[in-house]
């Protein structure tokens, strides 16, 4: 089973505080959607509103064109996996999975067959008789997912389900979730503040900030063509470099000029831009380390982070601004060296005072 989910002009207030402000979003059947944003941006609230655990103040939510925002959680045909797993501590794994099905009066043999099937998918047949207290974090996570699968819901909702797992298990479970999505072909909505989870799992990412949706797009759209300065800064590690700049719009493509006379030729059409102050943005992998004097600017290395396949170079420009560049894994540079920084004009971005972004023409 799978479903389209339509969220139309939804708002949510807690007392005087607005948590979500007139939000609209269409989710296609079989899509894996990730709500990504910092703490307090409203992403969990939106998920809980779809689940029916929070009321919708204004607007409507529909699943397969059928309005569901007035229905109780159990009647919406969705299943949710909680961050804390929310397993019933006094019930065995089997009973945890059966509970929801028993409550709707499903025949015993159907319940048993479903439990068996989902236990097989999740490789947890040997855990069925145990209580949650006897399981490890990763096993509890599986049970929580299993409890969702047995319901054969129209959509799965995941509320930061990986954040209580250790790093290795998190990576493994992430891959398993991706496989599960391919296998079940079900609509999945996943909330996280972890951009790696978002980038790796999502068909489309919904970046949220400050009660609103900042951008909806595929992971690479979000990464390469962030709609706002917030998205550019939030997605990607290390964060995108930002430098205050003025624009020289005399030629076809705009040239960004920094305060201390450094300039970068972008491939952003001058006629698309408007007057005003700008922030120039570029990701670390688009700033190459070259011998001093050969790049757009020179800087002195503050810190080096050797990641193995590449080296992140934190260099300080003459005016004190820090720029993160990228060099090969076995880079010979050392802290204190003076190096040149070569900005890739095709990959540079400009952000206006409102945060709106301009990018190079699409190739």
């Amino acid at each position: 089973m799978t479903a389209d989910i339509e969220i139309r002009n939804v708002s949510k207030h807690f007392g005087a505080m607005t948590v979500l402000d007139d939000l609209s979003l269409s989710i296609k059947a079989r899509e894996f959607i990730v709500f990504l944003g910092p703490s307090g941006c409203g992403k969990s609230t939106l998920l809980r509103m779809i689940a029916g655990l929070e009321t919708v103040d204004t607007g409507e939510i529909a699943i397969n064109n059928e309005r569901i925002d007035h229905l109780p959680p159990g009647k919406r045909g969705i299943a949710m996996v909680f961050q804390s797993y929310a397993l019933y501590p006094h019930m065995s794994v089997r009973d945890n999975m059966a509970f929801g099905l028993e409550n709707i009066g499903m025949p015993r043999d159907v319940i048993e067959a479903r439990i068996k099937e989902s236990a097989r998918i999740l490789e947890m047949e040997h855990l069925l008789e145990r209580k949650p207290g006897q399981l490890s974090g990763g096993q509890r996570q599986r049970v929580a997912i299993g409890r969702a699968i047995v319901k054969e819901p129209k959509a799965f909702l995941f509320d930061e389900p990986l954040s209580n797992l250790d790093a290795a298990l998190r990576t493994r479970t992430r891959i398993e979730l991706a496989q599960l999505h391919q296998r079940l072909q079900s609509t999945m909505i996943f909330v996280t503040h972890d951009q790696v989870e978002a980038m790796t799992l999502a068909d489309r990412i919904v970046v949220m900030n400050n009660r609103k949706i900042e951008q909806i797009g595929s992971p690479m759209e979000i990464y390469d063509r962030p709609a706002t300065k917030f998205v550019a800064g939030f997605v990607g590690a290390p964060a995108m470099n930002f430098v205050e700049a003025t624009l020289d719009r005399s030629s076809r493509n705009a040239r960004a000029r920094f305060a201390d006379g450094i300039s970068v030729q972008t491939e952003i059409a001058s006629d698309q831009t408007i007057d005003g102050k700008y922030t120039f943005g570029i990701r670390s992998e688009d700033v190459r380390i070259v011998p001093a004097g050969q790049g757009n600017a020179d800087g002195v290395i503050d810190v080096l982070e050797r990641l193995g396949e590449r080296t992140l170079v934190y260099a300080r420009l003459g005016d004190g601004q820090q720029i993160v560049g990228s060099d090969v894994g076995n880079s010979r540079v050392a802290v204190g060296d003076k190096v040149g920084l070569a900005f890739d004009g095709r990959k540079s971005h400009l952000f206006g005072e409102t945060g709106r972004a301009w990018h190079a023409r699409e190739v």
Binding site: G74, M80, A86, F99, G133
Partner: protein, 311 residues
Amino acid sequence: MDDRRATPRTVLPAASVRAASVDIYAPQWRNFIFVAPFLFFFTTLLLVPLFWGMWLSFHKADTFSSGNFVGFGNYVRLFHDKVFLQSVWNTFYFVLLTVPTLALIGLFLALCLNRRTRTAAVLRTLFFSSSVLSVTIVTLIWRIVFIPNVGLLSTIYGWFGATAPAFISDPSLAMIGIAIATVWWCIGLPMMLFLSALQQIPQDIYEAAALDNANRWQTLRSITLPSIKRTFVLVVIVQIVLQFQLFGQAWLMTRGGPNNLTKPIVLYIYDTAFRRWDLGMGAAASEVLFILILMAAMVQYLVTRNKAGQA
């Protein structure tokens, strides 16, 4: 300072090895002085009277002399005393009346008042407030309620032209009257214990249950009650131990009457030892009560130990 810095570094590992070999959990006899005050009072006020009581129960004793050793004589007399047997029955009857009522009403109140509204907070305080009253006040209040002709109950029944049940003087109702007063007095503690247990249940399992289509009854039966099972057992056993010691209410409301029907064991002990001055027999009755309460406490210990073992 400079000298210290000049100390060769090789000395440090040796010193730290020696330091690490000290077991910080090893017993330190001087720590004993911290528990000594408690042990002193525990011994003089609990252990000594306990064994003295046992010793007394084997002697024919009054306030002037500790008398002769009579073996199990006091116990034999005790179990031939119809009043004592009546008082044991009365006590069990009272425990049976109060403990399930306290547990169930306490649970019911806790379920109703486990919410974050101002009304619930006020009602919680109100229901708990009776617990802080002394037994004298409690019995006074309930005597005013129960007193024939002019009491609150009689007045209310009078409005409807009916006669109020005589909770203090009717032999079949007297113990029920005491039980009502006791439940009213003691309901605060079970309610608070249940409330704290309810508040320990994570909210998200209720949300999971809502997504699992559980209605209110299914949620109560499958989520709430199993989650507070241990507290329920605890409340029942604590109340058994407490209610076995009924004294004040019975003494102040009915003096054990009518016809010894509301005389509990503690009142029998008081009568025997301090009104009839038969200390030996009073001590023997005390030992019987002690064993009854000890059994209840042992059950509590076994139940909680098993639960801990399972978790």
